[in-house]
């Protein structure tokens, strides 16, 4: 019954998440890595939002004549999680700026190379 819908959105979430992981691992640019991280986070957010869907439910606003409402809680949770995600992204970008100033590069591999020399 619901399994098709569930499988469908689970697959979408998984695809999005894997894309994010791939970007984080495969790209050397520190900003792109952050974009990958954001994709991972967004995939989780979407998962939560889909979870709040109730079959045939309406928006969770009290109104006469409506029996089924979508579950509002996941949306509220995700609102908070988005804030958390933004904070992390902002900090990450700030760090990237500082790193590019300090090391003269945003290339992860180059920086790792420099650090190995230092050790």
């Amino acid at each position: 019954m619901e399994s098709l819908l569930q499988a469908y959105h689970h697959l979408a979430v998984v695809f999005l998440m894997m894309t994010g992981f791939y970007i984080m691992v495969a790209y050397d640019n520190l900003v792109k890595k952050l974009i990958g991280l954001n994709l991972v986070q967004v995939s989780v957010f979407i998962f939560f939002i889909l979870m709040g869907k109730v079959g045939g439910g309406s928006a969770p606003i009290l109104a006469p004549g409506i029996e089924a409402y979508a579950n509002p809680l996941p949306h509220v949770l995700i609102l908070t999680a988005i804030v958390v995600g933004i904070a992390a992204t902002a900090l990450g970008l700030a760090l990237a700026i500082r790193i590019s100033r300090a090391c003269g590069s945003l290339d992860d591999r180059l920086i790792a190379h420099l650090e190995r020399d230092e050790d």
Partner: protein, 530 residues
Amino acid sequence: MSATAADALLAQLPILLVVAPLLGAALCLLVRDARLAWGLAVAVSAAALVFSATLFARTGGGLVLEYAVGGWQPPWGIAYKVAPVNALLALVLGAVFLAGVVYAGRSFRRELRGRRLQPVYSALLICQSGFFGVAMTDDLFNIFVFLEMASIAGYALVASARTPRALTAAYRYLLMGSTGAALFLLGIGYLYLVTGTLNLSDMAPRLQPALGSPAVVAALGFIGAGLLLKAALFPLHLWLPNAYGYAPSAIAAVLAGTSTKVALYILIRLLFGVFDAASFAAALPDVMMVLAPAAIVAGSGLAIFQRQVKRMMAYSSVAQIGYIALGVALVTQAGLTAGLVHLFNHAIIKVSLFMALGCVVYRAGDCRLSDLAGLSSRMPWTAAAIVAGAVSLVGLPLTSGFVSKWYLVSAVLEANLWLPAFVILAGSLMSAAYGWRLVEAAYFRGGESAGGAGGVSGAGGGSGEGGQSPVGGEGGAAAEDNGGGNGKSAEAPPVMLLTTWALIALNFFVGVNPSWLTSACRGIAATLLG
């Protein structure tokens, strides 16, 4: 104060533990003088330690405090619930944060010279508030939010050293930590999908009929992966060595005592309180059972070859997390007790060690093995603190490390697992190997080679300061014994030494008289295992 008033105040302690540091964090940004900000942070942390110690003492009798945030009753509202396990974590956090903040005053002024310190203290208090929130709350999503609040503050704190190495370390810490958080959040989503609640006490019975369904398996997997990443269990430890190694010393000390411990605490609560660790969720302990010995061997082994001593200690943390995880993974009364005991003990040992190393950084500007040469004559108290920490890591009798090791080995042997028992003992030998490198550098180098060693440390300090170089030469002048004749200026400031030694005293107190801790942990383990 009447009994009812005291009770009313007691009931407010859980929320106060979260709110007080948060308010302090806001105030810190407003004050103009960095010393005032420090004073504020110390006051808030001291209050937090008093609160958490009160909670630990009061819940020791089996009392469980509940607090409904905003008056919304659980399971609808966010509930705080303080059982002994929460109180134990809060006690660790309170002790580590107070010591760390007091210590940070002088340490920051040297290591973060010429910078505005108010935001750093503010971040430190936000971190504190977040971790206390994790300890107090009974709401799973709330745990996530508090954990991220603390973690993001933690990334910023690591980066506050502003050296290139610290920045990249913080960046990687952020990347891996946020990934772990996303996985954790996904797992929470699955649990919510199945149970329709986020309240931990409410969740366990609702989950019972659904145990074994694919969604719960997915939840277990994602939560396990996310939290083990945050707990830095080998091989998910990659963020840790550099983050601790290049953070400012006070930050490294605080994070070493708290961040991984909090993640392990969440794991323990979910594993035993929500999932049924003994039967359904046995897969996760099984995985940990494999990873933990690997962590002990790999962490200790890598630590031996480090020359930057803070990084050596960070690798040692990787190994010590393995010890805790090993105890937890046994899923027995004895094992969980041992894990909890070591969670507490390792927090104090490692924090005191990082603080002692911070004293070295304070004088030498860096903390490589060569900077330790002749330390016993230059900084006898710091050197002795490093020895005390090292022997505790090894687990010599009369230190808290011995208590941990005893409980761990007996728990493992009780379960008839000989190989892990061997790994534990071999791991403590490996920790003796790297610990001894420190002791040898501090006490037995700098006799005939002191001239060269002094030159090295002078050069190391030269980049940072300049006026400190005569210390090495004086140490080399064949000084009798501990060379008490050297000028007092060579030793770290008394505040830093006092906080370091306060933790070492606590460490030896636990080593000589551990029954209060072990009986508390045994009680917690019994409750968690139901």
